[in-house]
């Protein structure tokens, strides 16, 4: 019997077309997954009803894994094999990780990204994060009893290219289709803005476990325009714990935090963290910890905590003021400041915001959940479930991107706070007669000297025809996509000889590395690789056919009969390939058919875009601003 379908207003009418799209907040201390259900974003709980998954992975005997709460519980007895706060190591080398001496890990300083030696081999933050992401993916799939179509994953706004690339690699490794990486404060603004219907200029102060972000956004009727952003990707609640722990040890006349054994250190830091949390509600709190087999009990006051950590709070204020300067606005023009991240529960931070902006900060959404909720709203929109034109996100690149020039100086190509996606070309020339190659060194940061910026990639442009110095024109093009990821290409123009190269930042994993890791497999995904890749190709084929058909339904009048017939034939070919594929042929035939469809619809896509732009220009947009 055919059942009547009832759909909610503004949502895709066909339930089969509704795609499971999730938002994932991959945090330093904990992670969450959220999805829009019945039109409302909500965090998905595990089978015990907990929405928070501690960002902890323990590698156990026999190649097993414990993820989340179980890993955290075993942390004290098995610190070496239990990786927490892996986000701090994303896309970082050992030298980048401040305070790594205080951590209980056996670090392996390998090129690209630091690893941690566990009983199950060396693990990078990408692999650890993939375990967490896969756990959340399975949680969502269990909740909906369906595959996850795609995910929006949040990153700190101040994450650089290497850290973003590493995050995307981790998602790929977890078998997630990344719809978009979005910035955490922006996600919070979406959750907040859509929930409260606010308009105007808002600051988002996001102090998490390990990262600090500040973003300034202009909110107007579904458009979230990031005006400027700043922060410190290595400053968070963990640092408050460490400073406080050090101060407590000093007052008790004990040895420094760095001199303690890993286990004692963990114990003191945990005690400091609990006291910090208690001091958010009370003026004083008891602290107990064990050092050298002796129990110590102290009474700590909020004033003592605030004094021990005042430098950190001052740093966040300094970064916040710089963002206001970048945006050329005064504190008085900001209509509200949204607090995000568990660390914004500290009264000292709230008071600092109230003083600076002259009004109490907005704290009515759960600071732990708000980022995941915003990501879920955006994921739902990107997957095509929401009514068209509900939400537009215009974000910026947090750090300037440039090239090394003579004398180790940086030539900036893309300035920080440029709206993405963006691309910019800069022309360079040779400095020696007959020079046939040029080294291109891509850096990120605000300093003038290359040595003080982060090196992203190096490559060489070869085959420049010999010319006198200064005659060659080498155009280097930087492109930052909507995920905030950079690609760089270079070519020589005068001779007509084109040599171009597209680089992936050196911190990112190569596709082969990701494939290798996938092959090795990880606890969460035991599926047979061949079956999985075939299935993925079939899903992709289905997705492309649906996309093309809906484009034809909307704008088919742009095509003449012959063009239409050609596209219909390509669709039929994809369908046939997806239907006929079996384990023995693998996904190759499907991929080829999908590629042919993509190529064959390029002209149609361009014509559709022209129509869309023309309509927007003529103000025929349904969502006129």
């Amino acid at each position: 019997m055919a059942l009547l379908q009832i759909s909610e207003p503004g949502q895709a009418p066909d339930p089969h077309q509704r795609r499971i799209a999730v938002g994932i907040d991959l945090g330093t201390t904990h992670s969450l997954v959220a999805a829009v259900r019945h039109g409302v974003p909500e965090c998905l709980p595990d089978e015990e009803g907990r929405v928070i998954l501690p960002s902890a992975v323990r590698y156990t005997e026999g190649g097993g894994r414990q993820i989340g709460h179980a890993a955290l519980e075993a942390q004290a007895e098995d610190a070496e094999n239990t990786v927490v706060s892996a986000k701090r190591f994303m896309g970082r080398t050992l030298a980048d990780v401040s305070g790594h001496q205080r951590l209980p890990y056996r670090f392996v300083d390998q090129p690209g990204m630091v690893g941690v030696a566990t009983r199950d081999g060396v693990k990078t933050a990408v692999e650890v994060s993939a375990e967490i992401l896969a756990t959340l993916r399975f949680r969502a799939e269990d909740t909906f009893d369906d595959d996850v179509y795609g995910a929006v994953i949040t990153v700190p706004a101040y994450f650089d290219d290497a850290q973003r690339q590493a995050t995307k690699d981790a998602a790929q490794l977890a078998g997630l289709n990344v719809l978009r990486l979005i910035n955490e404060p922006t996600a919070a603004a979406i959750a907040y803005g859509l929930d409260q219907g606010v308009e105007g200029l808002y600051a988002v102060y996001d102090l998490g476990g390990g990262t600090f972000d500040i973003s300034l956004l202009r909110l107007a009727r579904g458009v979230f325009e990031v005006v400027a952003t700043g922060g410190d990707s290595a400053l968070g609640g963990d640092d408050y714990d460490q400073r406080f722990a050090s101060a407590l040890l000093q007052r008790a006349g004990l040895k420094a935090l760095e001199a303690l054994s890993p286990r004692e250190r963990r114990n003191v830091q945990t005690a400091a963290r609990r006291a910090k949390e208690a001091l958010s509600a009370a003026e004083s709190a008891a602290v107990t910890f064990e050092v050298d087999g002796q129990a110590h009990a102290l009474q700590a006051t909020r004033a003592e905590f605030e004094a021990a950590t005042s430098e950190l709070t001052a740093t966040t204020l300094r970064l916040l003021k710089r963002v206001l300067r970048d945006a050329k606005v005064s504190a008085g023009e900001v209509q509200g400041v949204v607090m995000v991240g568990g660390s914004t529960r500290m009264p000292v931070v709230r008071e600092a915001m109230a003083t600076l902006f002259g009004r109490p900060p907005l704290t009515n959404l759960n600071p732990d959940e708000v980022v995941a909720l915003g990501a879920a709203i955006q994921a739902n929109a990107l997957a095509g479930n929401a009514a068209a034109g509900d939400l537009l996100l215009l974000d910026v690149t947090p750090l300037s991107l440039g090239l090394e020039t003579m004398g180790g100086l940086v030539e900036r190509v893309i300035e920080r706070n440029s709206t993405i996606p963006t691309a910019k070309a800069q022309d360079f020339t040779t400095f020696k007669d007959g020079q046939t190659a040029m080294a291109v060194h891509v850096v990120q940061g605000e300093r003038e000297l290359v040595s003080e910026c982060r090196s992203l990639a190096r490559f060489e442009l070869r085959g420049i025809p010999p010319m006198v110095a200064g005659a060659a024109r080498i155009r280097v093009t930087f492109q930052v996509d909507a995920d905030g990821l950079l690609s760089v290409s270079a070519k020589e123009l005068t001779s007509g000889v084109e040599a171009a190269i597209v680089v992936k930042p050196s911190y990112g994993l190569t596709d082969e590395q990701v494939a290798g890791m996938l092959k090795e497999g990880f606890a969460a995904a035991e599926a047979d690789m061949a079956a999985r890749s075939l299935r993925e190709a079939q899903v992709e084929a289905e997705r492309m056919v649906l996309a093309t058909e809906s484009a034809l339904a909307a704008d088919g009048d742009l095509l003449d009969a012959a063009e239409r017939a050609a596209i219909d034939a390509l669709i039929a070919r994809v369908r046939a390939a997806a239907r006929d594929a079996g384990p023995e042929q693998g996904p190759r035939a499907i991929e080829a058919a999908v590629e042919a469809l993509a190529e064959g619809t390029e002209g149609f896509a361009a014509a559709r875009m022209n129509r869309g732009i023309r309509d927007a220009l003529a103000g025929r947009n349904v969502n006129e601003i």
Binding site: R19, G150, L179, R180, A220, V223, E225, R318, K321, R322, R325, Q378, A381, L382, A383, G384, A388, G389, L392, L393, L394, S418, T419, I420, P421, T422, A423, K424, Q479, D481, A482, R543, M544, L546, A547, T548, A551, L597, A598, E599, T601, E602, F604, A605, A606, R608, M609, N610, G612, I613, R614, D615, A616, L617, A618, G619, N621, N623, E624, I625
Partner: protein, 191 residues
């Protein structure tokens, strides 16, 4: 595709039909080709155009559609950035009229202008408090405002525009804007 330039304040339906990614920034935003522009209208158009072209609108579409969305979104942001900034806008108008700024080669500025630049530089190197830097910043901002006024007169107010003269004023503005960013850096260092 035809990308013939249309210099009318309001593009005709025919001009719109031929609007391509290679249209001028003004055509793309449907704005009259002048120095003085309505920043509110620019902002609104930008959001409208991105609403149609942003890659987020094509997340479920084919690779071809995503690539084209990316190209358009990049192009729209480029035009927006250029039109929004008075210096970039004036320089762009010069280039549309075939006048090269010669920003690298032509550094001949009037002596009075150079004197003032030197005075400002001295003042900045001596300013060691935020208040002193702020005072200098307001002085430079006032001078910048005056330069923008004269650009407006030169471009929008003249029956026939002397684009070479405009280019000279733009070069002066480049010095001022460069100095402004030096002031910003100083403020960063002091706070």
């Amino acid at each position: 595709m035809d990308d013939g330039l249309n210099r009318d304040a309001r593009p005709t339906e025919a001009a719109q039909a031929s609007l391509s990614i290679r249209a001028t920034d003004f055509e793309l935003f449907g704005l009259p080709e002048r120095f003085e522009i309505d920043l509110g209208a620019l902002d609104a158009k930008w959001k409208q155009l991105q609403g149609a072209a942003h890659p987020d609108r094509f997340a479920t579409e084919t690779a071809a559609a995503q690539r084209i969305a990316m190209q358009w979104a990049v192009r729209i942001n480029e035009a927006y950035r250029r039109l929004k900034n008075p210096l970039a806008r004036a320089a762009y108008l010069c280039s549309l009229h075939g006048v090269d700024l010669e920003a690298e080669s032509n550094t001949a500025m009037p002596p009075a202008f150079l004197m003032q630049q030197m005075e400002w530089r001295d003042a900045l190197s001596e300013a060691d408090t935020l208040e002193a830097v702020d005072a200098l910043a307001s002085e430079v901002a006032a001078a910048r405002g005056a330069t923008l006024k004269s650009l407006q007169a030169q471009i929008d107010g003249a029956a026939t525009v002397d684009w070479r003269a405009v280019a000279g004023t733009v070069r002066g503005l480049m010095f001022v804007d460069k100095f402004m960013s030096d002031i910003d850096r100083r403020v960063d260092a002091l706070s």
